[in-house]
């Protein structure tokens, strides 16, 4: 898979955003900022900050993919009344805690 997410040959760049766009929807659910957490990919076992995931789609549905293997790590669907958070592509989330 082309790590730039697009194919230079045909000049088309696939649009994705970095994982920081997950901060808003995740802050509706979690008290800590999960974009600083380290996620381990269930597909390739690589680890990186949630902020470095590649996010496709737009509200109400976002897909966060692993920058190493391209597989889905996390999905969020937000309806007016519910949030679905799908973490089947995540082995662990290592979350820095505020110890002050």
């Amino acid at each position: 898979m082309d790590p730039t997410g697009g194919t230079a040959a045909d000049g088309v760049q696939d649009a994705y955003q970095d994982g920081n766009v997950l901060a808003g929807p995740l802050s509706e659910i979690f008290a800590v900022d999960l974009t600083a957490a380290m996620s381990r990919c269930a597909h390739c076992d690589s680890t990186g900050a949630v902020a470095t995931l590649r996010v496709y789609g737009r509200p109400p549905a976002l897909v966060a993919r692993c920058p190493s293997c391209g597989e889905v790590v996390l999905r969020i669907v937000r309806s007016p009344t519910n949030t679905w958070l799908d973490l089947r592509g995540t082995v662990t989330l290592n979350i820095p805690m505020d110890t002050r």
Partner: protein, 199 residues
Amino acid sequence: MPIVSRGFHGRKPDPGRKLPPGQYETFDFPVLSAGPTPRVSRDDWTFTVTTESGTRHQWDWGRLMALPAEHPTVDLHCVTKWSKFDTHWEGVSLDVLLEDVETEAEFALVHSYGGYTTNLPLEDLLDGKAWIAYRYDGEELAAEHGGPARLLVPHLYLWKSAKWVSGIQLMLEDEPGFWESAGYHEYGDPWREQRYQGD
């Protein structure tokens, strides 16, 4: 402070056209994907129908082109709330592709290059309601809109019209697809506003 868009490019929505609930009319063709755009050449493209017994029926590009084409003009309704009237397509009816397929299945799971899936009742693919579409607005279907070929099933929300379609699995029991397993409605009828599970 909400600002209501009255349509793009200075065109006004046609008040004579009926929109499904919660939708607005757009005149461009927004691109929305769950991942990078797969690049599949026509030479490499195949479409495979697999029955519940495992029997496979496969078409390559040449065999697809040899089948009778239809030219449906349909309205599109995306769950992200845009609708687009009178879109022009060319493709092969699923009635033709499934004509010689023997099956007792009631459900279909549609597969795409890139790993996307979506599920729907088999009857929603039949009786002139669905196509494998390979031309849009007189042009070859662009990769960002699902080319070389996509499913077109316009009476359901557009996430059911799988881009980059690679095959259809016929099944005795329903199985949720990519979005249906993450909160989207199992059926997705825009006229009943079936956006999310429980709608």
